[in-house]
Symmetry: C3
Subunit: 136 residues, 3 copies
C-alpha cells in the first residue's frame, strides 16, 4: 500500500462476482493485508449451486476467491491463510485435491473447519487473508 493509504480501510467490490447478499464487501484491504469475505458456491450470475456436487461447488468457491483476490490487488501466490468451512468433514480429501490443483506452488496456512448446515444448504464456504501487493 502506498504510504498515505497505510492507515485506511478500503472496501473492495468485485465486478465479476454476484453482489454481496448482505451488509459486507467482497473484500477489505488494510495494514498491507487483504481480507476476503466468506465465499459460497454462487455463480457470478447469482445462481446458488445447491444441487451441484461437492467438486462443482468447490471449483466455484475457489474461482470466487481468486476473483476477489485479483480485484483487491493480490493473487493466489500472496495468500497467507485460508479457512474452509465444510458441512461434512468427509469431504476433506476431495477438497484438498481440488485445492492443490488451484493453489499450485502456493501453500498458505490453512484450516478446514466442520460446521453445522451452511447458508442455503450449500456444502462449503472459504475465507482468506492475503498480502496486498505493493503499490506500483
Amino acid at each position: 500500500m502506498a504510504g498515505d493509504q497505510a492507515n485506511k480501510v478500503q472496501a473492495v467490490g468485485v465486478d465479476t462476482l454476484a453482489a454481496p447478499g448482505g451488509h459486507y464487501s467482497h473484500a477489505c484491504v488494510g495494514a498491507g493485508l487483504v481480507f476476503i469475505s466468506g465465499q459460497l458456491p454462487i455463480t457470478p450470475n447469482g445462481v446458488r449451486l445447491v444441487d451441484a456436487s461437492f467438486e462443482v461447488q468447490t471449483l466455484q468457491v475457489l474461482a470466487n476467491v481468486e476473483a476477489a483476490l485479483l480485484a483487491s490487488g493480490s493473487n493466489i501466490q500472496q495468500l497467507l491463510q485460508l479457512r474452509v468451512y465444510v458441512d461434512d468433514i468427509a469431504n476433506w480429501p476431495l477438497f484438498n485435491t481440488l485445492y492443490a490443483a488451484w493453489a499450485g506452488a502456493a501453500r498458505p496456512a490453512r484450516a478446514v473447519v466442520p460446521t453445522g448446515p451452511l447458508h442455503f444448504g450449500l456444502k462449503l464456504e472459504v475465507e482468506a487473508i492475503a498480502l496486498a501487493l505493493p503499490a506500483p
Copy 2:
C-alpha cells in the same frame, strides 16, 4: 501505533465489559491491527442473556464489540473483518439487518459460520479484526 510499539503485543482490557471469563484479553493489538476476542451476549455486569431473543443477544454482542474496539484505539469504521458464529443459520437474515444498522457505512469483510451449540447455550458469538488508528 507509534514506531517503538510496532513490534509489541498489547493486551487490552475493557473497563466497560464484563471481565474475561477465561485466560484471554478482550482485545490484543499488534502490527497495526486490533484483534477482538469472541464476544458473547453478556452484559457489562456479567449477565448471560441466555433466555433473551436473538435480537437482544445480537445487540448486546455488537455493543460489546464496539466497546472493545474503542478501548483498543479503533472503531467500527476501522473494521477489516468480522466473523459471526451462530448456532442456527436461520438467524442469518435477522443478524444481517441488525448488523447493517450497527455498521452503517462500514462494510468490512464478513463470514457467518454455523456452529454447534455455543458456550452457555447462547445464540451467537462475534470476533473481529480492525485497523489500529495511528498514534496521535
Copy 3:
C-alpha cells in the same frame, strides 16, 4: 521482518512436526504476522491421538502450536489471536485451564468455537496469529 521481506509470503516448514497432511504449510509469514495452520493432536511421528483424553490431545496441540511459532521466528509471548475448535463445548473449562498454564503471562485475543465432528474424530484443533519478531 527486514525491509525487503516485508512484501513477501514465506511458507514455514517445521522439522519437529509431522509433515502437513495436505496442501498447506505449518505456518506462513507476511506483513509482520505469523499465521499458524490449524493444529491437530498429532505427534511429531504422525500418530493421531484419537483415543487419548481431551487433556492429552490438548497438550499435544499446544506443543504443536509452540513448535510452529518457534520455527516461524515467533513465540507464545508474541501471540495476538488464538482460535480453538472443539467438537464439544463442554470441554471449554478444561481447555482453559490447560491453556492458561501453557500461555503463562500471554493473554492473546481468543475464541472457542464449537464445531461438528473434527477430522479423524479428534477432539480439538487450534490456529493462531502472532507477531513476527523483528529481524536481528
